[in-house]
């Protein structure tokens, strides 16, 4: 290879590398710098080493936020995935009804997260919403969904499920459509039941779409801000204050940017671990 040709790939990559450096690596390095300093009111005061990390990791509020994030992520992930999978299987066949229903299911995903969460807030409001109408006949007319820690968390999970099941459905539907119909036909000829075909054909061939969907949803839920910010405001009693909401408040409400960046970097590391898990799972699946 001639010397000039050797640099062609680098020249082609250069614009992307410059952009990545400016928009990702640069801010990341600034975040690391801030996290090692006492930054108050947007003024960098002094170097304090790992004090910000120690403070956030020993803060009861942050530990609560990590727990809340874990609870929310697990419930939201399981329920969203199950609902999305069920919808994908139900709406796999092409027909007028299935097409219409796919469009209907997609509506929450198409509207802005903020708007969706505001709509649900109105829905769940005891004073102004429709929830009282639904809960009244069940003898729960005086229950305020957003005013109790457990039901507020349930509302948050519902928000995630309501919006993101459509994403799971799209991903899994694409996987289902990619399965050759001959496999199912052959299995049917051999006398396999619907359950057997689902277990032996559909599930194994959907392994990669399932993995992508699960990890994508998990990363999304771990980093969620809009749902709790709008729907529950992190309350009541910090019951729904997820870790990214805590970062947001530390940075933009409390103006302690050093701690906010330290926590944000820890969340970033958690995300890297999740991506690592994805890579390991892919390797095991023999796809990389």
């Amino acid at each position: 290879m001639r010397r000039a040709e050797r640099f062609v790939p680098w020249r082609l990559l250069a614009p992307a590398l410059v952009l990545e450096t400016a928009l990702v690596l640069g801010p990341l390095l600034i975040a690391v710098y801030y996290s090692l300093h006492n930054v108050r009111f947007f003024q960098i005061r002094r170097f304090i080493g790992l004090d910000n990390y120690a403070r956030v990791l020993t803060s009861p509020d942050v530990l609560n936020a990590l727990w809340v994030t874990a609870v929310f992520s697990v419930f939201a992930l399981v329920l969203t995935f199950v609902l999305g999978f069920a919808l994908a299987v139900w709406l796999e066949r092409d027909g007028r009804f299935a097409t219409l229903m796919r469009a209907v299911v997609l509506v929450p995903y198409m509207i802005a997260m903020l708007v969706g969460s505001m709509l649900l807030k109105w829905l769940f409001s005891q004073e102004a919403g429709l929830s009282t109408l639904a809960l009244g006949p069940l003898g729960l007319g005086d229950l305020s969904i957003l005013a109790e820690p457990r039901t507020a968390m349930a509302a948050l999970v519902f928000n995630a499920m309501w919006r993101d099941a459509a994403f799971a459905m799209i991903m899994l539907l694409a996987g289902l459509k990619a399965i050759p119909p001959e496999l199912h036909l052959a299995a049917r000829v051999d006398g396999a039941s619907a359950w057997m075909r689902f277990r032996r054909i559909t599930l194994p061939l959907l392994r990669i779409p399932i993995l992508i969907t699960l990890v994508r949803l998990l990363v999304h839920f771990v980093n969620i801000l809009t749902f709790p910010l709008i729907l529950t405001g992190g309350g009541p009693g910090n019951a729904t204050e997820v870790v990214v909401l805590k970062v947001f408040r530390l940075g933009f409400a409390d103006h302690v940017l050093g701690q906010a960046n330290a926590l944000a970097l820890l969340v970033f590391l958690a995300n890297m671990v999740l991506v690592g898990i994805l890579l390991v799972l892919f390797r095991r699946a023999g796809r990389i």
């Binding site: 003024q43 102004a128 007319g141 005086d142 009541p236």
Partner: protein, 435 residues
């Protein structure tokens, strides 16, 4: 001949060409950029006032132009400070009271004290709200000039109060408020649930505002912070106030439990919708509530001063509002300061008052005949509250989110997670960590 003319013409053209930019430069107005939440091109009393003020300034200063860049008010102060850090800030920015600590901790604001020092003695003596000026003074420097002052008042429904057989005198103490709230809480459709609650609260920790517990604590102990910004929240008075607030939901049942999940805006909407009989609200919302009053006559909206623990002393009229700051490093800082001075002159203050519908900031305005008209009575009333018990938070302390700490403490008591003192210890630590 022709050649000579051509040379002369060429020379003249060259001179003209060189001189033209300088001449244009000399005549071209310098532009002062201002960030505010108001858009002078939109309808509204304050917008009209701002537009008129700008026009009069530009008439008096033909070489200066004011360009208003309307901003989202919630992030304006942060963006101003960040812009100043990046040396790219507007010449003037409006800042609200709970961002004065942020402003004071930055290098962004110019000291406006020389402006005030140059005022004639009569103008200084005419100031109706010295607390607002004090709030913006840090280390002897005036970091921003008060433009509009607002405070929190107890808004109530006159019709409901009268139907309960009570007069506004009953609302002079917090205990009186509880009794009035009990009398006004009603189940109008007989479903076992109140349809009108006695006292509305927004106790969320996002989009929060001043609640009775904050004001009752100030009433009880005088302040939330000492001079060195040490938070004083884990006190018997603060715990008493938070317990009192939680009891509105738990014991007296005059406030819906859902208040723990409501923002202050949610609660104000509910008040306007006729679901609450009383609520502590900023007077800046008076017009909005009258405009959106649903199911009740807007003329029934009454204002009472903040109650105290005892009838002999009203609670604090917490001075809040909007201030104008000039960017210290602006190349037009002197002109910017001149415009700020103009925005707070007697003529401009008269415009902020009417048609701006703001509380009169000058004694001379408070006394003018227009303030006696029924439609402006509430402004005169609020000016009287200020004069009676004006109180300003220490602006060098970061107290804005302390309001959310009170709300969180109340939530924890309502939910049975902690007792009031334990909840206020957490609130104190959170407030202290922000200093």
């Amino acid at each position: 001949m022709n050649r000579t003319i051509t040379r002369r013409a060429t020379l003249a053209a060259a001179v003209a060409g060189l001189a033209a930019p300088a001449m244009v430069g000399a005549q071209q107005p310098s532009t002062i950029t201002m960030w505010t939440f108001l858009d002078p091109n939109r309808p509204g009393g304050r917008e009209t006032a701002l537009k008129t003020i700008i026009e009069s300034f530009e008439r008096a200063n033909p070489t200066l132009r004011i360009r208003v860049e309307p901003q989202v008010w919630t992030t304006m102060a942060e963006r101003f400070v960040l812009g100043a850090n990046a040396r790219n800030a507007p010449d003037i920015a409006w800042v609200n009271d709970n961002n004065l600590a942020l402003l004071g901790a930055s290098n962004a604001p110019a000291d406006l004290k020389p402006l005030v020092d140059a005022w004639p003695a009569a103008r200084r003596a005419d100031q109706n709200l010295p607390a607002a000026m004090e709030a913006a003074t840090q280390n002897g420097k005036l970091i921003a000039m008060p433009i509009m002052a607002t405070t929190f008042v107890l808004m109530y429904r006159r019709d409901l109060l009268a139907a309960a057989g009570l007069t506004p005198d009953a609302l002079r103490t917090w205990d009186g408020v509880v009794e009035a709230a009990k009398a006004m809480t009603r189940d109008t459709n007989g479903d076992g649930q109140p349809d009108i609650w006695g006292l509305g609260l927004g106790l969320g920790t996002e989009r929060f505002s001043v609640t009775p517990a904050v004001l009752a604590t100030i009433s009880g102990q005088g302040a939330l912070f000492d001079e060195r910004c040490t938070a004083r929240l884990a006190t018997a008075e603060a715990a008493r106030a938070v317990q009192w607030q939680a009891d509105l939901i738990l014991r007296h049942r005059v406030t819906p439990r859902e208040a723990v999940a409501m923002t202050s805006d949610d609660a104000i909407d509910q008040f306007a919708a006729g679901r609450y009989a009383m609520q502590v609200i900023s007077n800046a919302r008076y017009d909005q509530i009258q405009r959106t009053a649903a199911g009740w006559d807007k003329a029934d909206l009454g204002l009472a001063p903040i109650p105290g623990w005892t009838a002999d002393k009203p609670g604090p009229a917490l001075t809040t509002g909007w201030f104008a700051a000039a960017w210290r490093a602006s190349p037009r800082v002197r002109d910017a300061m001149r415009f700020i001075d103009h925005m707070t002159s007697a003529d401009s203050m008269a415009l902020w008052n009417l048609p701006g519908m703001q509380v009169p900031m000058l004694r001379s305005l408070a006394a003018r005949p227009e303030m006696q008209r029924p439609e402006n009575a509430h402004l005169a009333q609020i000016a009287a509250f200020f004069a009676q018990s004006g109180f300003s938070m220490p602006s060098h302390c970061a107290w804005g989110r302390t309001l959310a700490d009170f709300n969180l403490a109340t939530q924890q008591v309502v939910l049975g997670q902690r007792d009031a003192m334990a909840a206020m210890r957490i609130a104190e630590r959170a407030s202290q960590d922000r200093q």
